[in-house]
Symmetry: C2
Subunit: 70 residues, 2 copies
DNA sequence: TCAATATGTTATATATAATTAACATTGCGT
DNA sequence: ACGCAATGTTAATTATATATAACATATTGA
């Protein structure tokens, strides 16, 4: 599991006028979890990624930018 | 984290002529892990989902079918 | 400036993904 | 029918995502 990713959560949150806490409530996790995900500290689960993308009206690929190694 | 998902891994594996073990090798996990994911036993990580999708030349959304609850 | 709200951050605890190993079953080729 | 490769499955262990709590640092508005 070498590669990493960046996220556009912060940007999309702003566009939707959502605080970390509001987004956390919507997707059913804690505020800190959203913060950690935004800062790339967690390799979050697929379901959480999906629910975040959903809440931000985007696809997973739009929210999470994967850095290819090759 | 209520919702679940189905996967098209088995079908896509067949199309790409890959055994569970070959796919596991490519994405860097164990054969059993692929099996468990195929059968929906794990809520796998986003990175693993991405690597599986990549190996199957598909997007995450094509490989993993999310069941909405509402 | 003060208070309130949002975010950063860290330590510890808990839930669960993923590993490992072992054995069972299924299917396919010869 | 036999043997082998692929897959199913389960139990125990390890690694790590997420929860929880606590406090610190912005930032914004009255």
């Amino acid at each position: 599991m070498k590669n990493k990713f960046k996220t556009r959560i912060k940007e999309l949150r702003a566009r939707h006028d959502l605080t970390q806490e509001q987004l956390a409530d919507i997707v059913g996790v804690r505020r800190e979890t959203i913060g950690h995900v935004e800062h790339g500290k967690y390799n979050l689960s697929l379901l959480l990624a999906h629910r975040i993308a959903q809440a931000l009206e985007s696809s997973i690929e739009e929210v999470f930018i994967f850095e290819e190694e090759n």
